[in-house]
């Protein structure tokens, strides 16, 4: 039978029913991955032997009558999360020989649920960038237009899913690194609430803002993956003890009457026209589903950008300081100064940022009292060309780092859950994403809203021409 790698639910149904084996599925996934690797560079390591071994184990478990929620589903793991026995490079030659002694918590949960590790996905070096250009392992190309960036830093994870090499992949998000490539590659990307998914076994960039989450084609698949990964991990002190809802079951609830906060300050001030039109149309569609629009204003966003800078640079330099002493020359020329820069930031900036964080959370909690979900564009513009540094947007020219991440990083600073959903395409055929942001630990609400939106639209059904 023909095996489709774009739909995890179909794979699970086929493997559980015996219509296909996990070994058949992984054989097809490995063949496709090898075929696309040279051109698109989605992987740093394709874990063929491990994948075959895991697939065999899944087939044996299914034969014994086990019901596995992800039976035989291949997935990509951003190469800053550990997979036992495989190098965790963090996208850097500086760590090419760092072999993991155990699986990351999230990876272990997924493998226990029947998923199979297809490979370690490429990323912007040290997850400290958004283009997916990587001087060590090759640049991740956008499957919708190979002359353009895939977004990042979870670039390879998004490229692998967009090319239908696997139905989902894991990413990490410290300023938008799951949502940004998802938006630019036409996929669903979920950054859960801070503390919802353990980071054990992940290379940190910024401990107080790092999140682990899925990139998938549909909201329903992202919900399934979150349900498997979420929960308390004794080894990660920041992981929550809250019970994990059945995110898949929760998708069936109603959305009528949900209050959507539309923050016209900041998030809608400087958008490409096509992005503005697509997101406005998506908000209208949510209105047609029975949601109510509420105009809101989020305070302190310029301060949030500064605080995010102070925290990410200080914490990254704190982690990388020993490596800057013994292997500085092995980092890329663009990344090394970023890792060094935080060493020179005054401690008072870091503390001011962490103090501001409490104030911002308190004031935003008041805004969220009047709404159930915040709706914004994920990015103000579609994927840019490789090498582009700035973008001409309404209101003036902006550096890409400000243009792309100003709409996503606020929720790393505050920890709110946020999901990016495809909501349209530019005239040139490039994907556009809408961001839905919920109250802390209200993933079920934003996933339900996003799923209802997907049921009512066709954007997620388009497949990249290169796939």
């Amino acid at each position: 039978m023909k095996i489709e790698l774009s739909d995890s639910r179909q794979i699970v149904a086929d493997v559980q029913a015996g219509r296909a084996s996990a070994k058949d599925v992984i054989k097809e996934a490995l063949a496709r991955a090898e075929r696309h690797q040279e051109k698109f560079r989605p992987f740093i390591t394709i874990t063929a032997d491990l994948a075959r071994k895991q697939a065999e184990a899944v087939d044996a478990r299914v034969k014994r009558g086990e019901k596995l929620p992800l039976a035989g589903v291949p997935f990509g793991v951003k190469d800053l999360l550990d997979v036992k026995g495989v190098a965790t490079t963090g996208g850097s030659r500086a760590f090419a020989d760092r072999t993991a002694g155990d699986d990351a918590f999230a990876v272990r949960r997924l493998v226990e649920a029947g998923a199979v590790v297809l490979g370690k996905t490429n990323l912007h070096e040290c997850a400290f960038g958004f283009t997916g250009e990587n001087p060590h392992f090759g640049d991740c190309k956008n499957p919708w237009d190979v002359t353009r960036i895939a977004g990042g830093s979870s670039s390879g994870s998004a490229v692998a899913v967009a090319l239908c090499l696997c139905p989902f992949a894991l990413g990490s998000d410290t300023g938008g690194s799951i949502r940004h490539p998802s938006a630019l590659c036409g996929l669903v990307g979920l950054k859960p609430t801070y503390g919802r998914v353990s980071r054990t076994g992940g290379v940190p960039l910024s401990w107080t803002m790092d999140h682990v989450g899925p990139i998938a084609r549909t909201v329903a698949e992202a919900a399934t993956v979150l349900k498997v990964m979420a929960g308390r991990d004794q080894a990660d002190e920041t992981s929550s003890r809250r019970p994990v809802p059945d995110y898949v079951e929760e998708l069936k609830g109603p959305v009528k009457g949900l209050r959507l906060g539309i923050p016209h300050n900041w998030f809608f001030e400087s958008l490409e026209k096509e992005v503005a039109n697509a997101v406005t149309a998506a908000i209208d569609k949510l209105g047609a589903l029975g949601c109510k629009q509420v105009e809101v204003r989020l305070p302190h966003l310029e301060e949030v950008v500064g605080a995010h800078r102070a925290i990410i640079f200080s914490e990254a330099s704190s982690y990388y300081q020993p490596f800057l002493r013994d292997r500085a020359e092995r980092f890329g020329d663009d990344i090394r100064p970023l890792l060094q820069g935080g060493l020179f930031l005054p401690a008072v900036d870091y503390l001011k940022a962490q103090r501001a964080r409490r104030i911002v959370r308190r004031e935003w909690a008041k805004v969220f009292e009047s709404i159930d979900c915040l709706v914004t564009p994920t990015t103000p513009l579609v994927a840019t060309k490789f090498g582009q540094q700035k973008a001409a947007l309404p209101g003036g020219e902006k550096s890409l780092v400000r243009a792309y991440l100003d709409l996503t990083l606020p929720f790393n600073f505050t920890g709110h859950p946020a999901v990016s959903v495809p909501c349209g395409f530019s005239r040139g055929g490039l994907p556009i994403g809408m961001q839905l942001v919920g109250r802390p630990f209200a993933e079920a609400t934003i996933l339900r809203l996003a799923d209802h939106y997907q049921q009512a639209t066709e954007w997620h059904k388009r497949v990249a021409p290169s796939a």
Binding site: E303, A307, L324, L338, G341, A356, R358, I359, F441
Partner: protein
């Protein structure tokens, strides 16, 4: 501040890149640095959202 103070040796090309970065960060942090956070607001607890407001 010199590189010696932070116990890291910077090559000449990195010195310029780091100086440019710090200039850019200073611009982005202007609003934060002038934000009034009051006298007794403590620093956040390790990013945990559920035990905070």
């Amino acid at each position: 501040m010199s590189a010696e103070v932070v116990h890291v040796s910077l090559k000449e090309k990195d010195r310029k890149a780091v100086a440019d970065l710090l200039q850019s960060l200073a611009e982005d942090m202007t609003a934060l640095r002038t934000l009034n956070v009051g006298e007794n607001e403590p620093a956040s607890l390790y990013g945990a959202v559920e035990v905070e407001p």
